[in-house]
C-alpha cells in the first residue's frame, strides 16, 4: 500500500496559502539549510523525538529498554540507536508524551479522511498544503495523493524547494492551485555552502514554471537569514532574476524568526547558526522593499 511518512498535520494553517488550510508536513528533504526551521523533517526515515523539558524522569521507558536502547544520564535520556531501533514499547510506556516518533505512516485514504474533517473551513479558497521537508521527495506517490485530493475538489498548495526532476514537477503542476517556492540564495556557491545543494536545478525549474504560469499559481519567497540571505546583493540578484523571468510574480520576503532552534535538541540535532540572530529591522526590510520596487518588482507581499 502507498504510504507517506508525515511528521505533522497542522489544522487551521493560516500562512501556507489562501484561506484556512490543513498543512501536511512530509518527512525528508534533499536540502539541509543551516537555518532549517523544521529539523525533524530533514531525514526521510522515521526518527525519535525526545523533549527533555516534558520528561519527568519517571524511567518507565527504561523498564522496556531490554536491549539497552536508552539510558538515563544527567537527568536526560540518552539514546543508543546501535542497540535497537524499535522504540514503540518505550514510547507507549512514556506517560508524558516526551518520547515519541517524529512521524507516522499515512495511506492516501487516511489522508483524505483527515483532510475531510475540516472541509467546512476550506471556503474562500482554503484547502490543503503540502509542506515538509520537501514534499516532492515523495515522487510519484505525491501525484497520486494530489489526484485523490483534487478529485474531492480541494484547493491544493505546495511549499517546495523545487529541487526535483522537472518531469515530476510538470506532471504534478496541473493538480496544484498555489505553488510557494523559495529562492533562498542566488549565488550558486553560497547556496551550496548553506543548503548543501546547488541552486541551478531550482532556478531552472522556477524559470520553467514562471514561463508557463498563465494562472499565476507561483509565489516566490526568500527567507531572510541574517548574514546569509539578507544582503542587498542577494535580494537584488533574485529581483533581477524575477524581473527577467516574470516581473509580475508575487514575491514575499520572510523575515527571520527565531523559532527554529527550540526544535533541534528534541530530534538530537545541533543548530549550527548563532541562537542570537535577530530579525531584520523595519528599516532594513523597507530598504529591501524599495530596492525591489526600483527594480520593477511590483507585486510584493508584505505580511510581516
Amino acid at each position: 500500500m502507498t504510504t507517506f511518512n508525515i511528521f505533522d498535520i497542522k489544522r487551521f494553517a493560516l500562512h501556507d496559502g489562501n484561506g484556512i488550510r490543513t498543512t501536511l508536513f512530509f518527512k525528508g528533504c534533499p536540502l539541509s539549510c543551516l537555518w532549517c526551521q523544521n529539523p525533524e523533517g530533514l531525514d526521510a526515515h522515521n526518527s525519535i523525538s525526545y523533549s527533555s523539558h516534558q520528561c519527568i524522569g519517571c524511567l518507565e521507558c527504561l523498564k522496556h529498554s531490554h536491549k539497552g536502547e536508552v539510558t538515563f544520564e544527567n537527568k536526560k535520556l540518552k539514546f543508543h540507536f546501535e542497540k535497537g531501533t524499535d522504540y514503540q514499547k518505550l514510547i507507549d510506556a512514556c506517560p508524558t508524551g516526551a518520547l515519541s516518533y517524529v512521524s507516522q505512516q499515512y495511506s492516501i485514504d487516511d489522508i483524505v479522511h483527515l483532510i475531510e474533517r475540516d472541509k467546512i473551513f476550506y471556503q474562500n479558497s482554503g484547502g490543503v498544503t503540502f509542506s515538509g521537508g520537501e514534499p516532492l521527495m515523495q515522487g510519484e506517490k505525491l501525484i497520486l495523493l494530489a489526484k485523490a485530493l483534487k478529485e474531492k475538489g480541494y484547493h491544493l498548495a505546495i511549499e517546495t524547494t523545487l529541487y526535483a526532476p522537472l518531469e515530476l514537477i510538470k506532471r504534478i503542476e496541473p493538480y496544484l492551485d498555489q505553488i510557494y517556492v523559495d529562492i533562498k540564495i542566488y549565488d550558486e556557491n553560497e547556496h551550496i555552502v548553506n543548503t548543501g545543494v546547488s541552486n541551478q536545478l531550482i532556478l531552472q525549474n522556477i524559470h520553467y514554471l514562471l514561463e508557463h504560469d498563465d494562472q499565476n499559481k507561483v509565489i516566490i519567497r526568500t527567507p531572510l537569514i541574517p548574514h546569509i540571505s539578507d544582503s542587498e546583493e542577494n535580494i537584488k540578484n533574485i529581483g533581477q532574476f524575477l524581473k527577467e523571468t516574470k516581473p509580475t510574480v508575487p514575491y514575499e520576503l520572510l523575515n527571520y524568526n527565531r523559532l527554529a532552534p527550540s526544535k533541534y535538541e528534541k530530534v538530537n540535532k545541533t543548530f549550527k547558526l548563532s541562537k542570537d540572530l535577530e530579525p531584520l529591522s523595519k528599516e532594513r526590510m523597507n530598504k529591501l522593499y524599495s530596492l525591489l520596487n526600483d527594480l520593477g518588482i511590483k507585486n510584493i507581499i508584505k505580511n510581516n
Partner: protein, 778 residues
C-alpha cells in the same frame, strides 16, 4: 460634525467616570426601610411600589455638564447599591470587608456603615427574602450546595429583556392609559397590581421631570438645555427623535435597576427598534451619523455607570461587576431577511472607540450576514476586549421553536440577556440563572461511594465506587442514579426560591414592560409573562468527558490502570502518583479534539439531563431548560471538586466557558474545537452556550488575518454552533504559560510552513514573544 469634538466630550465623560471612586450606597435602602416602617399595614406589593415611587422622587440625582444622556440610580457613578428587601444579612456580615475583599471592591463611608448596622439591618433581619429562604429551606439548599449552586437567593432575578419597543412607542403615560382601560373590568387581585403599576409609572414621570429641573438650575450649554427639553418632553409624550428615544431607553433601564437591583436587564436588539427614529431624523436632517454615534457612545458610558454589588461568594462566580447590558445587533428579521442597518455599524464603532466592559456587545450571525458587518466585528475583536461575541441564528432560532415551543416570530427576534443567556424580547421571564449543576462533583461522588473526596463527608447515597464497579456500564448506571438524586433535590429548592420571590419581590414596574402582564393583570414574578422559563447550567462536560474517557480507556478497556490505584490517587490528590497523573493528562484522549467518542461521553450526560428537565414544571407553570456557560464560575465550582481522572488537581478550576475544552487540552487547534462543539445538540443550550477561544494578537494583525477569521466565523455559522467568543491572549496569559506550561500546552505559534507550541519554545524566545504581545502591535 467634527469627530474631534465628539472625542472630547466622550473622553471627558469617560475620564470623569473612571476617576470616580466606587462607593457602597445605602440611600435607597434608607428610603425603602422608612416606607416599610411607615406603612406596615400595606401589602408587600404596595409597599414595594410605594418605596420605588418614593425613591424616584427623593433619591439624589446629578448631571455632568457634558452629558447628552442623563440619569443614574445613585448620585455618584458605579455605586454599589444595598438593597434590603432581597437580602442584607450578607451585607451585615461582609460590609467591613467590602473595601478589601479579593473581588469587586467598593469603598464604604463610615457613617453609612454605622447607619446600616444600627438603623437598616435591624429592621430587615428576618424580613428580607434572603432570610426567609434561609429559614424555610436553607438547610436543604446547603446540603446540595457542593453539587448544585442554587442562585437568586439574595437578590432579584433580573436577566430580562424588557419590551423596549413598546416602552418607546407609549412612554409611561401611554402605559398608564393601557392600565386604566384594563382596570375597568379587573378582579381585586388585579386591581392591586394595576394600582401598583400606575403608582410607579407616575414616579417615573416625576423622575424624568427632576432631571429637567436640575439642569435648568445649572449653568447650561445649548446641548444640555436640549437634554432638559428632552426630559421634559418624555414626561408628556413618547419620544419622537433618536436622541429622545435613547434618553427614554436609558430612563427605562435606570428605573428597572432601581426597582429590582438585579443584574442583566438587557436592551436586546437596539439596532432594530432604534432604527426608525434614526431614519426619521436622518430624513429630516435633524441628525447625522456622527451625532448618532456620539449619542450611542454617551449611552455606552451610561451602561458602565450602573454596577452591581454582589456578595463575596457570588462576586467570585461573576467577577468584574458584570451587570449585563447585553446588546444584540445584526441577525435576521421576522421575514428571515438580513436585518442589520446603520445603527448596527454605529454600535460596533462605539465599542471600537470606547473598549469598555459594558455593553456586552453581541453580534447575531446568519448565513447572509454581510461581509462588511462581519469584518468590522472582527476588527473590534482584534482590539482585545473579548467583544463582540457572536451568536448564531442558524443554530438558535430553530431550537427555540422546536425545543421550547416559542412562536417563530418571537424566536427570530431573540436577544441575549446578561452574558450569553438567550431570551425572547419583552415577553419572557427566563429565570435563566436558576442554578448550576456540577456534573463533575456528581462523578466524584459516583467514584467514591457518595462521599466528598475533599472532606470525606457523605453527600449522596453510596451506590459503589471506582473500586467496586466491574464494568464501565456499572459506573454509568450509578452516575445516572446520582444525577437523578440531585435533580430531585434541586427542583424542590427551585420551587422555594421562586415562591420567595413572589412573596418578597413583586416588580410592578418591570411588569409594565413585559407582555402580557398588563393584559393578565399579573405580576411578572407570578407568571404574568408570555413565556415563563427556568434555565439550569450544566457544568462542565469538558472535564466530564475527559475523566470518563480516561476511566473507560485505561481502567475498563486497556486495563492499564488499576481501579483501586486510581481511586487512591484521586483521594491523595495524586501525591506520589505523578506517573499515573502524567498518563491521565497526556495519554488519554480529550474533549475538543474532534474525537467523536470522547466528545459524546460528555454530551450524552447533558442530553440525559436535558431530557429529565421535561419531567418538571417551574413555579410559574413554565418549562425548565438548560444552558452550558459559567462566566467565571468554573473557578469556585472547581474548588468544590477533588482530584479528577482527567488529571486535574483537587480544587483547581474546571474548564472555562461552558462548551469549551479544558484550556490547554485542545491540541488539534480551533477547527477541531469547533467540530467537537458542533456535536452538542442545540436543544442543550437553549438557555445559552459559551465557547471561548484564545488567540495571540498576531492573528488579527492584518487584513489577511481579518479575512481568515471571517472565514472561520462563516464555518461557525454553518456548523450551527450557538455561540463563540474570541479572547486575545494577553501578556499575563503568556507569563503564566511560561510558569505553568502544563496549563497552556495548546497555545500555538503559527508562521508559514511551521508550527510550534508556545510552551516548547526556549525561555528567551518566550520572553521575546511576551514582549511583543501587546495591543499596540495590532
Amino acid at each position: 460634525m467634527d469627530t474631534k469634538i465628539i472625542g472630547n466630550r466622550i473622553n471627558i465623560l469617560k475620564e470623569k467616570m473612571l476617576k470616580e471612586e466606587r462607593y457602597v450606597s445605602i440611600e435607597q435602602a434608607r428610603i425603602i426601610t422608612r416606607v416599610y416602617q411607615e406603612n406596615e399595614s400595606l401589602s408587600i406589593p404596595k409597599k414595594r411600589a410605594l418605596s420605588l415611587y418614593t425613591a424616584l422622587r427623593e433619591l439624589e440625582i446629578s448631571v455632568e455638564k457634558e452629558e447628552l444622556i442623563v440619569g443614574n440610580r445613585t448620585k455618584g457613578v458605579r455605586g454599589g447599591v444595598v438593597f434590603p428587601e432581597s437580602g442584607c444579612s450578607w451585607v451585615m456580615n461582609e460590609i467591613d470587608d467590602i473595601p478589601t475583599r479579593p473581588q469587586d471592591r467598593f469603598k464604604v463611608r463610615e457613617e453609612d456603615s454605622q447607619e446600616f448596622k444600627t438603623q437598616i439591618y435591624p429592621y430587615w433581619a428576618h424580613r428580607s427574602m434572603e432570610d426567609i429562604i434561609k429559614r424555610d429551606f436553607g438547610e436543604e439548599i446547603n446540603a446540595i450546595a457542593k453539587v448544585v449552586k442554587i442562585n437568586q437567593k439574595d437578590h432579584a432575578q433580573g436577566h430580562i429583556c424588557p419590551d423596549c419597543e413598546t416602552w418607546l412607542k407609549k412612554g409611561p403615560r401611554g402605559l398608564i392609559e393601557d392600565i386604566k382601560v384594563q382596570k375597568q373590568n379587573a378582579t381585586a387581585d388585579q386591581i392591586e397590581f394595576y394600582e401598583c403599576s400606575e403608582l410607579v409609572l407616575e414616579g417615573v414621570i416625576c423622575f424624568m421631570k427632576r432631571y429637567h429641573d436640575l439642569i435648568m438650575q445649572m449653568e447650561f450649554s445649548d446641548d444640555l438645555k436640549n437634554v432638559a427639553k428632552i426630559c421634559d418632553n418624555l414626561t408628556k409624550r413618547p419620544p419622537n427623535t433618536f436622541h429622545e428615544a435613547v434618553q427614554s431607553l436609558w430612563f427605562l433601564f435606570v428605573v428597572l435597576h432601581m426597582e429590582s437591583n438585579a443584574s442583566s436587564f438587557s436592551p436586546g436588539r437596539i439596532d432594530q427598534y432604534l432604527y426608525p427614529y434614526y431614519k426619521k431624523d436622518i430624513n429630516d436632517n435633524k441628525i447625522d451619523s456622527s451625532k448618532a454615534l456620539e449619542i450611542i457612545e454617551c449611552l455606552y458610558l451610561k451602561f458602565n455607570q450602573i454596577v452591581y454589588l454582589r456578595n463575596k461568594h457570588s462576586a467570585q462566580f461573576f467577577a468584574g461587576f458584570p451587570i449585563g447590558f447585553n446588546i444584540a445587533i445584526g441577525g435576521i428579521d421576522a421575514l428571515g431577511n438580513n436585518a442589520d442597518n446603520e445603527i448596527s455599524e454605529l454600535c460596533l464603532k462605539a465599542q471600537y472607540d470606547l473598549g469598555l466592559p459594558q455593553p456586552n456587545l453581541s453580534v447575531r450571525l446568519h448565513k447572509d450576514t454581510p461581509e462588511i458587518l462581519l469584518k468590522n466585528a472582527v476588527r473590534v475583536v482584534a482590539r482585545g476586549s473579548g467583544m463582540p461575541q457572536f451568536f448564531n441564528d442558524e443554530a438558535i432560532i430553530n431550537s427555540l421553536i422546536n425545543d421550547l415551543n416559542i412562536d417563530p416570530i418571537d424566536a427570530k427576534n431573540y436577544a441575549i440577556v446578561g452574558c450569553v443567556e438567550l431570551t425572547t424580547q419583552g415577553n419572557n421571564l427566563g429565570w435563566s440563572d436558576a442554578a448550576m449543576f456540577n456534573f463533575n462533583k456528581v462523578l466524584e461522588l459516583t467514584m467514591n461511594h457518595g462521599r466528598c473526596l475533599i472532606t470525606g463527608e457523605q453527600l449522596a447515597t453510596d451506590l459503589g465506587g471506582l473500586d467496586t464497579y466491574s464494568t464501565f456500564d456499572e459506573l454509568e448506571i450509578a452516575y445516572k442514579q446520582h444525577i437523578d438524586e440531585f435533580i430531585e433535590k434541586m427542583m424542590e429548592a427551585e420551587i422555594h426560591i421562586e415562591k420567595a420571590h413572589q412573596q418578597c419581590l413583586p416588580t410592578a414596574f418591570l411588569s409594565t414592560v413585559i407582555d402580557n402582564c398588563i393584559e393578565k393583570g399579573m405580576d411578572v414574578t407570578r407568571g404574568g409573562a408570555k413565556y415563563n422559563l427556568s434555565g439550569i447550567q450544566m457544568i462542565q462536560i469538558a472535564n466530564l468527558a475527559d475523566s470518563l474517557a480516561a476511566i473507560k480507556q485505561f481502567v475498563y478497556e486497556e486495563k492499564s490502570v488499576d481501579q483501586i490505584e486510581l481511586l487512591q490517587a484521586l483521594k491523595n490528590d495524586f501525591e506520589n502518583s505523578q506517573v499515573l497523573r502524567a498518563k491521565l493528562l497526556n495519554k488519554a484522549p480529550k474533549y475538543g479534539n474532534d474525537i467523536e467518542w470522547v466528545d459524546q461521553l460528555g454530551i450524552k450526560w447533558a442530553e440525559y439531563f436535558r431530557e429529565r428537565m421535561k419531567d418538571y414544571t417551574n413555579y410559574r407553570g413554565g418549562s425548565y431548560h438548560t444552558g452550558m456557560y459559567t462566566v467565571s464560575a468554573h473557578v469556585p465550582m472547581g474548588e468544590n471538586v477533588g482530584a479528577s481522572p482527567d488529571g486535574r488537581y483537587s480544587q483547581t478550576p474546571l474548564a472555562d466557558g461552558g462548551m469549551s475544552p479544558v484550556y490547554g487540552r485542545d491540541k488539534n487547534g480551533p477547527t477541531a474545537i469547533l467540530k467537537s462543539v458542533s456535536r452538542i445538540n442545540n436543544s442543550l443550550t437553549t438557555n445559552g452556550g459559551l465557547l471561548n477561544m484564545k488567540f495571540l494578537p498576531q492573528f488579527f494583525k492584518n487584513e489577511v488575518g481579518i479575512e481568515k477569521f471571517s472565514s472561520l466565523l462563516r464555518a461557525f455559522v454553518q456548523l450551527k454552533i450557538p455561540h463563540i467568543q474570541f479572547n486575545v491572549v494577553n501578556k499575563e496569559d503568556l507569563l503564566d504559560a511560561k510558569c505553568h506550561p502544563d496549563l497552556h500546552s495548546s497555545l500555538t505559534i503559527r508562521v508559514a510552513g511551521y508550527t510550534a507550541y508556545f510552551v516548547e519554545l526556549a525561555s528567551q524566545l518566550q520572553d521575546e514573544i511576551i514582549e511583543r504581545t501587546s495591543y499596540d502591535d495590532i
